[in-house]
Symmetry: none
Subunit: 162 residues, 2 copies
Amino acid sequence: MGKLFSKNKLIILYGASLAGILLLLKWLEFRFVIMDHSFEVYIGAIALIFTGLGIWLALKLTKPRIETIIVEKEVIVIKPAKDTSAENFGPDEGALLKMGISKRECEVLALMSEGLSNQEIADRLFVSLNTVKTHSSNLFEKLEVKRRTQAVEKGKRLGLLL
Amino acid sequence: MGKLFSKNKLIILYGASLAGILLLLKWLEFRFVIMDHSFEVYIGAIALIFTGLGIWLALKLTKPRIETIIVEKEVIVIKPAKDTSAENFGPDEGALLKMGISKRECEVLALMSEGLSNQEIADRLFVSLNTVKTHSSNLFEKLEVKRRTQAVEKGKRLGLLL
DNA sequence: ATCAAAATCACCCGAAAGTATGAGCCCAAA
DNA sequence: TTTGGGCTCATACTTTCGGGTGATTTTGAT
C-alpha cells in the first residue's frame, strides 16, 4: 500500500495537482470568463501554472544524471616518511574487494569519514536517507564494526580511505 | 546588443513560443469552445501542452546537473626535518590552548577517535554518561562542529590527535 | 533470457547521540 | 575571600543512528 504509493508518488502527485488545479480553474471559470470575459488572462494563468508544473516535474523526474565528474583536489599532507607505500593511490582496491565492499558503500564510507550525517550523505548522493542507512548497515557488517566512528577508524587503517 | 540577445535567447524564445501558442489557441478557441463547448478538453490540451513546454524548458535550461564527487588526491610531501617533533609526542599543545580545550575534553576526544561510544568513554574515564555528554558538547562547540565524527576529523587536522 | 548481486526505498523501533539548563564541588588566582 | 573555570552530574527533550525486515528495480554476467 505505502509502497505502491511511494513508487508512483510523482505520478499520483502530478495527477492530484492537475485535478486540484483543474478544480480550482473550474471554480474560477465563473469569475473570470463570465465576469470579465478575460479569457486571455485565464488562458495565460493556466499556461503559466502548467509551465511551472512542467518544470517542476522535469526537475523531479529527471534522473540526477550522476556523471560523477571527478574533480581532483590536491591536498598537501605532511608525512613523516614512513609507510607511504600502501596509501598513496587512494582506496586499496584489493582490500575493498576482499571485504566485498561495493562502490556505493565505499562512497558512503568516504562521506562518513568527512563527518557527514546520514541525511547529508543522502543529499550528496541523491538517494534517500533509508538507502544510506542500508548501505551503512551493510558496511558495518562487512567491516565488523558497530558504529560509524569505528567504521571510519577501521576504513583508514585498512586503506579503504585516503 | 547581440550579446544581450544571446544571453536571453532562451527566454526570448520561450516568450515567442508562448505568444505563438497563445495565438494558435486563440484561433482554436473558435473551433473548440464555440463548436463543441468542450471547455474541459480545451483546458486539458492547454495544460498538457504547457506542461510539455515546461518540461522541455527545464531540460533545456537546466545545467546537466553533474554531481561532482570530489576525490581528494593526496600529495605526499615529506618534511622530516621540521615538524616531526610536534606530531610524535601527542597532541599539539599550542592548538589545544588556542581553542580553549581542557584536558578532560581532550581525553574524551581521543577516545572518541577510537570509535568508542559515550558510554564506553564514560566507563573508561570512570565518570557518568552525562559527564561525557557535557564534555563532548563543549568540545563540539569549541571545535565548531556538530557531530563526533566531524570532531574527530577536525581534531586530526588540527593535530589535536596523534 | 535469466539469474544473482547491487542499489534503491519503506517502515518500525529501540538505542545512542546531542541540546539545554541548572547545580554542586574544588582549586587557583585576584 | 570571592570569583571564575574546570569537572562532575542530573533531568528532560529532540534528533540521529543502527538493526531488522521486506520489497522493487537496475545491472552485470552467464
